[in-house]
Amino acid sequence: MRRLDPQSLGQHIDPMYRAAWALCGSREDAEDLVQETFTRVLAKPRIIRGDERGYLMQALRNTFASRFRTEQRRPKTAPTSDEYEPVDTHSPSLQRSAEAAEILQAISELPEDFRLAIVAIDIVGLSYGEAAKALGIKEATITTRLYRARQRIATAFPDVSRAQGSAGRGRSEPDRSLR
């Protein structure tokens, strides 16, 4: 057991943001979720066991469960065309970030148990043991959920391996029936 060092949390912002995006399905909600999570964690001194990232994943999941799930039931607003910034759609980095956004969006459409498993292990990078601890389930359970989550994601992006090789040339439309 040791005290959580607030100064060391900065390094976890990016993985937590990706995890939040994969949980919420939108980058705006992900920003709110990450900020809310860090606010909660930093509100008072914390004693942690094990990895900081696992602790943050647990906090992210709890914040998501207590606040964002309720909010997500409310009607959402979509940006109007005026709010989109003009972008160079031929930029490879942009194509890659668009692809990442699609993948995170697809993960967010998985059933929650599957989503949490794939987020904890493949997005945040926790070990199976850490993920099981962060999510409060058995390691065998999380592995099974992870396996099935991956199956669905792979099915949703059938041509992605070829598309990666050709940097987005003619990738087929993903099958989004993940649930």
């Binding site: 060092d5 912002i13 943001y17 930093l42 008072k44 592995t143």
Partner: protein, 278 residues
């Protein structure tokens, strides 16, 4: 580890031609895809996969999903979010958390401040009102309570704190957190025989605490003790009443690091910033 071994045994017992979606296969395939399966179990499973087109397809699915997840790794948090969180992690907030009961209450430190002043006055009186402070007096300040929150790490260099010793022309205090785990926990500034003494307190995760004082002005008389030399600097290790201290000079100014329940070896390591001593 035990789980991996169990998994390996189960995988070995499994019939190579089986096409069932047992959880054993799911476990093993998931772990094989992301490299979390032990080498031996991986070899066993790969041999089975080679013989089974269905297992090959299932493994490909897992590997594809892992590769897809890796595509997202370039996605970074927006600057606005990073700035907002940096604001939450600001040093003042951390410093306040270091204080007892979560809030800085200066009047609680008054008895300690008065006691220190009394000790210093008595020591000065006994020594006939000498105009030069002693290392012993400085050590008492290094063992005293903090008066201010901990200084932040200097952003331009992670090995120094954003605080300088007064009356020294800008000698900075070290930030130990990266290489020794000792973390700044408070600060005090005193005037001792017209000399400015700046002290930064550090705390280890075990709760042990040391004070690092730098005395402004000319160097003080160094007490007797064991001598260690590092990079040409002499460090004097000595003991007081229930405390240990190390004294040395930086740019001609006397530095004292002292602590109770801390070994002189630890003090020496902090004084030398982790360098080996001879």
């Amino acid at each position: 580890m035990r789980g991996t071994i169990r998994l390996m045994i189960r995988a070995m017992r499994h019939d190579g031609n089986s096409t069932s979606s047992s959880s054993t296969d799911e476990d093993a395939l998931a772990r094989l895809a992301d490299g979390m399966l032990s080498a031996k179990a991986s070899n066993e499973l790969r041999a089975r996969v080679e013989r089974s087109p269905q297992l090959q397809a299932r493994l490909r699915e897992q590997e594809r999903a892992v590769a897809l997840a890796r595509v997202t790794m370039d996605t970074a948090a927006p600057t606005s979010l990073r700035t907002a969180i940096d604001g939450l992690i600001e040093p003042d907030r951390e410093a306040r958390r270091e204080m007892p009961r979560g809030r800085w209450r200066p009047w609680l430190a008054m008895p300690a401040v008065l006691a220190i002043a009394a000790v210093i006055a008595v020591v000065a009186l006994v020594r006939g009102g000498t105009a030069t402070p002693t290392v012993e007096q400085t050590a008492h300040l290094a063992l005293a309570a903090a008066m201010f929150p901990a200084p932040a790490a200097n952003r331009s260099g992670s090995y120094v704190l954003a605080v300088h010793a007064s009356g020294t022309g800008g000698i900075p205090f070290p930030s130990y957190v990266g290489h020794t785990g000792w973390k700044a926990s408070g600060l005090r500034r005193d005037t001792l025989q017209r000399r400015q003494v700046t002290t930064v307190f550090y705390r280890a995760s075990s709760g042990a605490r040391v004070g690092y004082s730098i005395v402004g002005g000319n160097a003080l008389k160094i007490p007797a003790g064991r001598t260690r030399t590092v990079d040409g600097t002499r460090y004097i290790v000595s003991t007081g009443e229930k405390y240990s201290l190390v004294t040395w000079r930086r740019d001609g100014h006397t530095c004292v690091i002292a602590g109770r329940s801390v070994t002189s070896g630890t003090l020496l390591r902090l004084a030398t910033n982790g360098e080996d001593t001879t």
